[in-house]
């Protein structure tokens, strides 16, 4: 039917051009997600995904439970689907094409079920379909009732072979879908979005797809990126890092929510893309005999992730000691839980100032809120000529007038002078 004719019949009809590339991408996305239920996933372009589930029924708790998971997952990803099942892939696909949500569990019932399907499910050319209509054949049953030789001569053997494959009389081998090594999926938003929080709803669909993809590979990710595409500006990237690999959709969503709360959009968003490059194997975890065990460790990772999602990755860090004499280089900021050296440094303050603070010298005595009383020292630290950051200092422990203990040094280079570098607390 022409668009003009359709609009004449239904003036409020919304017409959208088909986008074959987007359809294929969606089909591949659904296949990657569905691979978590069975390794046997085959594509039926342009609109079908075939799952070989007979080996998966026990694992997922029966057909009904499996269908429930399929339906829920597809709905969460924003797809509507017709689910049908049969002992042969082609019969299952035809049932779905005809819009029949039927599940046939034996070859014996196949013939009767297929006989009622319209001839259109054969997806042969328009000419063949017209020829069938002209001789009064509307269903597969009516087609099968015709003499085979005549049909083969007039409409081609291919048509009969298709039906025989659907009935299981001919073999119907399929190439199984191999999921890509990386995950990347996009959603074009139906309307431009200006509030970052509103993106969460669309992003959630992609997260469900990502988690299915990861489940299929028994893997997890430690980092994923949500890219927000604008019309004119470069895309905004929202990267989420995790302490340990995971494929927990709820956790991903929660972290993304924290991050999106803090994102201000310079321009409306037209499309979002979720990308995860490094899929790492996710070892199954043995539960302790008492379920309480190990709970704290899990919580700990969640805590670090939540803090980082809101405050930024650099805001949460651990400390590591290095074999180094210059006080400001002894500690380097690291990931929490880093391996530690055991080193002995002598007397050191609890607080180190980020930058040494120049203090006055009055009558050869260093002053910081009053004269300082030197308690111990000097400890000479002279080091670092090899990397340009050389220091030459004499460190002292000093007592302030208010009894606080501080760590100060006298610069031995250039113009000298006294500096406050730490507080003993």
């Amino acid at each position: 039917m022409a668009v003009s004719a359709a609009l004449a019949l239904a003036p409020r009809l919304r017409v959208a051009p088909r986008d074959p590339a987007a359809e294929t991408e969606a089909l591949l996305g659904v296949s990657g997600w569905a691979a978590q239920f069975t390794p046997g996933v085959a594509l039926e372009f342009p609109d079908g995904v075939l799952l070989e589930v007979s080996g998966s029924l026990k694992l997922f708790g029966g057909l009904e439970a499996l269908l429930e998971r399929l339906r829920r997952g597809l709905a969460e990803m924003g797809w509507s689907a017709t689910l049908a099942g049969a002992p042969t892939p082609r019969a299952a696909f035809w049932l779905a094409l005809a819009g029949k949500q039927e599940f046939i569990d034996s070859v014996a019932g196949l013939e009767a079920a297929l006989a009622a399907l319209p001839a259109g499910v054969l997806r042969c050319g328009d000419g063949t379909l017209e020829a069938l209509e002209a001789i009064g054949v509307r269903t597969l049953g009516e087609l099968r009732a015709l003499p085979r030789e005549g049909v083969a001569r007039r409409l081609g053997q291919g048509l009969l072979d298709k039906i025989d494959r659907a009935l299981g009389l001919l073999s119907d081998p399929r190439n199984f879908f191999i999921p890509p090594a990386r995950f990347r999926a996009a959603i074009e938003l139906p309307a431009e979005v200006t509030q970052a929080e509103a993106l969460l709803f669309a992003a959630r669909r992609l997260i469900v797809q990502l988690c299915g993809f990861l489940a299929a590979r028994s893997g997890g990710v430690q980092r994923f990126v949500l890219r927000l595409r604008h019309r004119d500006r470069a895309a905004t990237e929202v990267a989420i890092g995790l302490v340990a690999p995971s494929r927990d959709a709820e956790r991903f969503t929660q972290l993304l929510r924290e991050r999106l709360d803090n994102v201000t959009l310079a321009e409306p968003v037209r499309e979002i893309t979720l990308q995860a490059d490094d899929v790492v194997p996710l070892a199954g975890r043995n539960l302790g005999l008492l379920l309480e065990e190990g709970k704290a460790a899990g919580d700990w990772e969640h805590l670090v992730e939540r803090l980082r999602a809101r405050l930024g990755t650099d805001a949460v860090c651990g400390l590591v000691l290095r074999a180094e004499h210059r006080p400001e280089r002894v500690v380097c900021v690291s990931e929490p839980d880093s391996k530690q050296l055991h080193l002995d440094f002598g007397e050191r303050p609890f607080w180190l100032l980020e930058r040494p603070k120049r203090i006055a010298e009055i009558g050869a005595v260093p002053h910081h809120e009053g004269p300082l009383e030197l308690l111990a020292g000097p400890e000479r630290i002279e080091s670092g000529w090899w990397d340009g950051g050389d220091v030459a200092r004499d460190y002292f422990v000093a007592r302030m007038q208010n009894a606080a203990l501080v760590w100060i040094y006298r610069e031995r280079r250039g113009e000298g002078g006294w500096y406050l570098h730490g507080v003993f607390a």
Binding site: L319, V331, E347, W351, L375, G422
Partner: protein, 239 residues
């Protein structure tokens, strides 16, 4: 009559009720402070877990971290995490390691604003994933402290809030409040508030001055920078 008396006695056995003239021996768990004279005055014999403890040092550097050192060391050596939220400076790992704290258990959270610090502290307390939470909130209001107190309740972590001594007069939901000052060269610990009878006198803990070790210099000089070496080279060239 006897029945009434009996039930009254039973009531006093409840862990969450204490008599005004006694210290609470509440069922809440505590972490020994490492100072016996202080433990004797703290309800339960140590820093209380699952509630806020306010530490009000008269000024920075008076010994507020040395006071917590033994407890933090014990917790970290049991494999429990120590969350430092919005500290005023970088905690210096060599000193912490010297105090026996396992610095692998240390996590520093740096925040950009006071409200972020409160949020991070609340998250750390709610998660119940830390062995101790140390936070330096700036200008927290009573309602915000109350949120932290609720977050801390039921947890296993002692929560230390370091606040300025000016707030000593304000009311606070913290179960334990301690002001630190100096006296006679030691650290004067004044318990402002605890569960139980108030403590009138302040405790004097030995000022734990740094062991005055200073003999181990660390000098790495560039060989060419040595004057003697330079002279030697010059003579070599002229020869």
């Amino acid at each position: 009559m006897a029945g009434t008396l009996f039930s009254f006695a039973a009531l006093l056995e409840r862990p969450d009720i204490w008599r005004g003239d006694n210290l609470s021996r509440a069922g809440t768990s505590t972490v020994p402070s490492g100072f016996p004279e202080l433990d004797a005055e703290l309800p339960g014999g140590g820093w209380p877990a699952g509630t806020l403890t306010e530490v009000l040092p008269a000024h920075e550097g008076i010994g507020e971290l040395r006071l917590l050192g033994p407890a933090l060391a014990a917790l970290s050596n049991r494999g429990l995490r120590l969350a430092w939220i919005a500290p005023p400076h970088l905690p210096y790992a060599p000193a912490l390691a010297a105090a026996g704290i396992d610095i692998a258990m240390l996590v520093v959270v740096r925040t950009a604003s006071p409200i972020e610090a409160l949020w991070a502290a609340e998250q750390a307390l709610v998660s119940n994933a830390c062995g101790a939470v140390l936070a330096w909130p700036q200008g927290a209001k009573y309602a915000e402290l109350r949120r932290l107190q609720i977050a801390a309740e039921g947890g296993r972590a002692p929560a230390f809030l370091f606040r300025s001594p000016q707030v000593a007069g304000e009311s606070s939901p913290a179960a334990l409040r301690i002001a630190l000052g100096t006296a006679a060269g030691g650290l004067a610990v004044h318990v402002l508030k605890r569960r139980g009878a108030p403590l009138a006198r302040s405790l004097l803990l030995p000022a734990i001055p740094p062991a005055l070790r200073s003999k181990n210099h660390h000098v790495d000089r560039h060989p060419a920078a040595s004057a003697a070496a330079r002279d030697f080279l010059t003579r070599l060239v002229h020869a």
